[in-house]
Every structure is written in C-alpha cells, then in structure tokens.
Symmetry: C2
Subunit: 138 residues, 2 copies
DNA sequence: CGCACATAGTTGCTTTTTGCAAGCACTCAT
DNA sequence: ATGAGTGCTTGCAAAAAGCAACTATGTGCG
C-alpha cells in the first residue's frame, strides 16, 4: 500500500510542495528524469544513492498519483515501463535548478560542471525550456 | 540525540540539498523565518502544521550544525532564543520562492496572494534581496 | 514449446524516524 | 519566593525506511 495520504492542506505553498515531493527520495526521481535522462525502474534503482526497491515502487506510485510523472509501456520492450514528467512535473525544473545552484555554491565536493552552472545563471528560463524540450524529444 | 549524519555524499547537488533540508520539516522552519518572520522556538512550534517538539528541537540542531540558521539570545528576554538565517540559509530563498511559484500554480486551495506572486515573476532576484534585507533589519 | 534471462515489482522482517503526551529547567515579573 | 512563560527532554507507540529474498511477466532463442 502506498504511503497514506497525510497532506497537511493548510494552504501554505511550502507545505503543499513538501507534501508532494518533500522527502528523501521523490525529488531524486525527478532529478533522474530531468537531469539524467532516466526513464525506467531499473535506471532509478541503479543510482549511487541506492534507493530501496519497495520505497522506489512506493514513490513512483505516489508521484504518478500526484500527477508529477506518468507511466507508459515501452513499445519496443513490453517488459519496460517508461516513466516521464508530466507538465506539472516539468514545472519543477526551476526548483531543481535553484537547488543545484545552491548546492554548487556550498558543497565543496560538488560535481556540478561550471558550464552547467553558467547556463543556469545566464538564462534560467531558457535553460529550463531547453531541458523540457530535450525530454519531449525522446 | 540528533539524527545520525547519514549524508550520501555522492557529489550530486540534489542529493546534497536533500541531505541538508530534504525532509518534512526543515524547509518549513526556513519558510517560517524567511516568509513569516518567525524567530523563536514557540513561533516555529505554533504553526498550523503542528511539528512535534522533539522533531523541532532536532531540526533546529541540525540546521544550525549545517550552518543554515544561527542561534542567539534575545537581549530583551533571556528566556528566548532568536533563530535567524545565515548567509547560507538566505541563499535558500530563491529555492523557496520557486516552490511557492509551483505550488501557487497547482494548489487549487492556495493562499498565496497574487501580489506576492507578481513580485516573484517580475523581479525574482530583487524580491529575494528585499526579503533578505527585511530579515537583516530586525 | 521450454528454458534462461531481463525487468519490475512484492513480501516479511529489522532498524530508524516520527508523533504524542508528559515532564523538567531556566528565566522573568511581581 | 512563587507562578507563569519559554525552550526544551524523555519515554513510549506508530509509521516509514532499509534490507534481502522472492514472485510475476515478458523476451529471445533453440
């Protein structure tokens, strides 16, 4: 059973956002799709962060239920499910990019490339759009 | 005992950010300081979201340990601790504002004012600076 | 068909975290 | 000195996360 729905529903936007993706793993999945091009269960599972498979299955269910991602069958391999961001999910890209900016500034061991950072700094909206269309073209 | 330090340390900026404030409560505290002007334990405790006091104490410890907030005594009332954002914490304001934008768009019951949203849309950086200086002037 | 393998999960169990109610310690005001 | 305000801690129950093993279904190939 998926995590019980205990949304706070106080009208606060931060509470709303955290109820949707404010846990240790949801945003990681969104990152995998948006920035790493991941699309399948196996790709989400095999990241350095090592999510437990039951938690992964649970989060995929929740994110789909919340309309952040959508699931479809890979026409070329019926074993695979293809997960992708919905419009609502794509709208989280700016949030992700701001987090990248912040972490790049404060993580001494960051692996964020200067060129990536430059793109965010110089044209945030444009870069977000670029990522979106890259996702659409797959 | 504070939550054990189990940072993932994979070099990924999203993992880094989530390790710092990626839980149900940390960002709520940051919101309280940045957007609601909260500064004391009691103010953090008495929000509609009803954080448990042990979790609150734990998060305040963690956020301080991570250099996001700092703690000082209220000179006018020695019973009170004043919590405020450090520079590192203030740099999270853009992340918070992007989350507000997203939630305002997708939460049908949002309480975000149109005027607040307009400020974000029209001059994001300027608005972030405005919030920062408002915090400094207290 | 029949079998090995790939992919995507589920299940059962342990550990960790959260939630909740009560209580403690220090400070202030009188 | 006392009682109330503020900021916590403690102990215990409930929920979630982590872990390892197992199941289910589709694919490719002899």
């Amino acid at each position: 059973m998926a995590t019980a729905d205990k949304k706070r529903n106080t009208g606060c936007p931060i509470a709303f956002a955290l109820d949707t993706f404010g846990d240790r793993w949801s945003l990681m999945i969104i990152r995998d799709i948006a920035l790493r091009g991941s699309r399948t269960y196996g790709e989400f599972r095999d990241t350095p962060e090592k999510i437990a498979t039951n938690v992964l299955a649970d989060r995929l269910r929740e994110l789909e239920a919340d309309g952040i991602i959508q699931k479809s069958r890979d026409p070329e391999n019926q074993r695979k499910n293809i997960y992708s961001l919905t419009e609502k999910g794509c709208d989280l890209i700016p949030v992700v990019l701001e987090m990248v900016r912040w972490s790049a500034k404060y993580d001494r061991t960051t692996k964020v490339k200067a060129s990536f950072l430059d793109k965010i700094e110089s044209d945030r909206e444009g870069f977000a759009m670029e990522i979106r269309s890259r996702l659409k073209d797959r």
